[in-house]
């Protein structure tokens, strides 16, 4: 996976965090990052041109991350895309619940931008792994 270009969709309502995530992922020349600020936009983008991975914020106004994931899974065009939650949720119960929703893994905020891509790859390549800081 590390040898070829990786298409990642970043869904994050906070524009600063979204920009940091994009910059962190684009430190690698092999990554193409698209981004949006809401679940609704994410559904449209993912359906039109499915990315290889979706990084999905959990607490977003309107459609939150868990609802976005549910709708992604309900749509045949996007059902198989690996989703990694990025969250500021605090408790291990929260994290376990998020994992159980069908996401490939969970990365907690604040994350280290210099290792974010490694964390994403680790989460996606090991089916049951959660990447915590």
């Amino acid at each position: 996976m590390s040898e070829r270009s990786l298409d990642i969709l970043c869904v994050e309502d906070d524009p600063d965090v979204r920009e940091i995530i994009c910059m962190a992922l684009e430190l690698s020349a092999q990554v193409r990052v698209r981004s949006c600020g809401s679940g609704a936009e994410a559904l449209a983008i993912a359906a039109a041109s499915p990315p290889e991975i979706i990084l999905l914020d959990v607490m977003m106004p309107g459609m939150d991350g868990t609802e976005t994931l549910r709708r992604l899974r309900a749509d045949a065009r996007t059902a198989a895309i690996p989703v990694v939650f990025i969250t500021a949720k605090a408790t291990s119960t929260d994290l376990q619940r998020l994992s159980n929703l069908g996401a490939r893994g969970v990365i907690c905020k604040p994350f280290d931008p210099l290792t974010l891509l490694e964390q994403v790859r680790a989460v996606v390549t090991s089916p049951n792994a959660n990447a915590n800081p």
Partner: protein
């Protein structure tokens, strides 16, 4: 003829003697039986005159020895103890006697007489076939007292149970409700008569009710206790159909050889609401604090990573300072959130057999840069090649990070913080040693308490909330381990974590070498 008559007479005399002998034997036997009886017994002839009695009768009636005699009428017999009767309820015996009026052969009469000494005698009279009367006296005082005591206890117990706010419900092993306390009535909206005799499923939501027979059946067959003597949170259904969160504790008892289950039901609606608000608060605070931190730390890290940018040294230094403080702030936020969550002592840990060495290595890697900024070197000495214990790796890393950052914060520049992994019996031991000033004696008793600091001014100099060691001890406890320390003023401090090893899951360097040599 005379001879024949003499023989017949003799035979008759022998037969009569034999019959009298047999009769005497029977009387002796009867007397022996009466003497051994625990009840007082007397036999009256058809004219109510005393013909036979046993010693126990004299004891129970308090009649002086020798007063009872053959031929004593029943009226006189009753009078012998009348002075002892406290209530005047000795039956008055008129000309016809008190049972003469109605008591027919084959009939029985029973009554109680309370004596002044507190004894309660139960008198039974049975009219026999030929008009004789058999009297039995039993001292039922102890039984009566037990009954009264039992009734009193039952009343008190019922009053207590009815005043308990929790609902108390008993069911049999088929799930049928046997009792339903006042607390349960208030909780569920049913009256006790409405539910007693009904299946407990009446009080459950459909999903739970569908499986309950299966649970009981499995328990009856296997005896495996999965929910006995535990408290768990489930939903229950009120009479009006409304669901309510409850905490349920179930225990088993045997009553008269029958298995019964007691359920203690507590309404936790309010507690659940507060818990939910608390969780929402923590989630909101967590989000509101960590989101800007993500931007701050992320931006600074990315700035530092822009190698092609030739930042002036002063700007570089400012970025380092900002990054360092961002990291401190992150640790503070984590500590505070851990402490205000539903309580770190009830935090769910995912305990699995994992390598302690790997956790140490990861923690040191993550903190090398932090230590370097304070001109402190982190050195790892794995005295055993590895050790495996049932731990939550991320929580152990949190504990080690806390101990390492404390060690770094209190180390003079140019010093080393050393980390050892050892084995001591069935424990893996992790030691983190600094060469700092040591822990002041007056602070030592409070070191693992919440919000404790050696000196409040430390908070400004060293950072931190005073929660780190409290959290560390709580987490190590939860992993079945121990944490302690040794300290010497002016020489430094060693914090030691002992974690129970998984059996056979450690190998010392020496053992490994020996095995390798044997293999060779």
């Amino acid at each position: 003829m005379n001879f024949l008559a003499a023989i017949m007479l003799a035979a008759l005399a022998v037969g009569l003697a034999w019959w009298v002998h047999g009769l005497r034997e029977r009387v002796v036997l009867l007397r022996a039986m009466l003497a051994g009886a625990n009840q007082g017994m007397a036999l009256l002839d058809s004219k109510d005159r005393l013909i036979l009695w046993n010693p126990r009768l004299e004891q129970l009636r308090g009649v002086p020895c020798g007063v009872l005699r053959h031929g004593l009428s029943f009226a006189e017999f009753l009078q012998t103890a009348k002075s002892r009767c406290s209530c005047g309820e000795v039956p008055e015996v008129g000309e016809q006697g008190f049972w003469h009026c109605d008591l027919q052969p084959g009939q029985q009469l029973s009554m109680e007489i309370e004596l002044s000494g507190g004894e309660i005698l139960q008198l039974n009279a049975s009219r026999l076939e030929h008009g004789e009367t058999l009297l039995t006296y039993a001292d039922v005082g102890p039984i009566k007292q037990s009954q009264l005591a039992f009734r009193d206890l039952s009343t008190r117990l019922a009053a207590t149970l009815d005043n308990v706010l929790d609902g108390i419900i008993t069911i049999n092993d088929r799930g049928i409700i046997d009792s339903f306390s006042v607390g349960a009535e208030q909780l569920f909206g049913y009256s006790a008569p409405e539910v007693i005799g009904q299946n407990i499923k009446l009080l459950m939501p459909a999903g739970l009710a569908a499986h309950h027979d299966g649970y009981l059946d499995t328990y009856r067959r296997t005896g495996v206790k999965r929910i006995m003597r535990t408290r768990r949170q489930v939903e229950a259904r009120r009479k009006n159909g409304q669901l309510l969160p409850i905490e349920l504790g179930i225990s088993e008892m045997r009553v008269g050889g029958r298995r019964q289950f007691i359920g203690i039901v507590r309404d936790i609606t309010e507690r659940s609401r507060v818990d939910r608000m608390h969780q929402e608060f923590v989630a909101t605070v967590s989000h509101e604090l960590r989101t800007p931190l993500t931007s701050i730390i992320g931006a600074l890290r990315l700035l530092q990573a822009q190698r092609e940018l030739e930042l002036p040294p002063s700007i570089k230094r400012l970025v380092e300072i900002a990054d360092h403080n961002g990291q401190c702030l992150q640790r503070l936020v984590n500590d505070i959130l851990d402490a205000v969550k539903s309580g770190i002592d009830v935090l769910e840990l995912s305990l699995e057999p994992q390598s302690i060495g790997a956790v140490i290595a990861r923690t040191i890697d993550a903190n090398v840069a932090y230590a370097a900024r304070s001109d402190v070197q982190l050195v790892y000495h794995p005295d055993v090649l590895d050790a495996v214990a049932r731990i939550d790796a991320s929580r152990l890393q949190q504990v080690l990070t806390n101990l390492l950052s404390n060690a770094v914060n209190y180390s003079p520049g140019g010093q080393r913080v050393e980390v050892h992994l050892k084995r001591n019996g069935r424990f893996a031991v992790v030691e983190i040693t600094d060469h700092g000033p040591g822990i002041p004696p007056e602070f030592r008793p409070h070191i693992f308490q919440k919000f404790s600091r050696a000196d409040s001014s430390d908070a400004r100099h060293k950072g931190g909330t005073g929660l780190g060691l409290y959290i560390a001890r709580t987490l190590v406890d939860r992993m079945g381990g121990l944490i302690d320390y040794e300290t010497e003023l002016g020489r430094g401090t060693t914090f030691r974590i002992c974690l129970p090893l998984e059996r056979g899951m450690t190998t010392t360097t020496a053992e490994r070498t020996a095995v390798q040599q044997l293999s060779a």
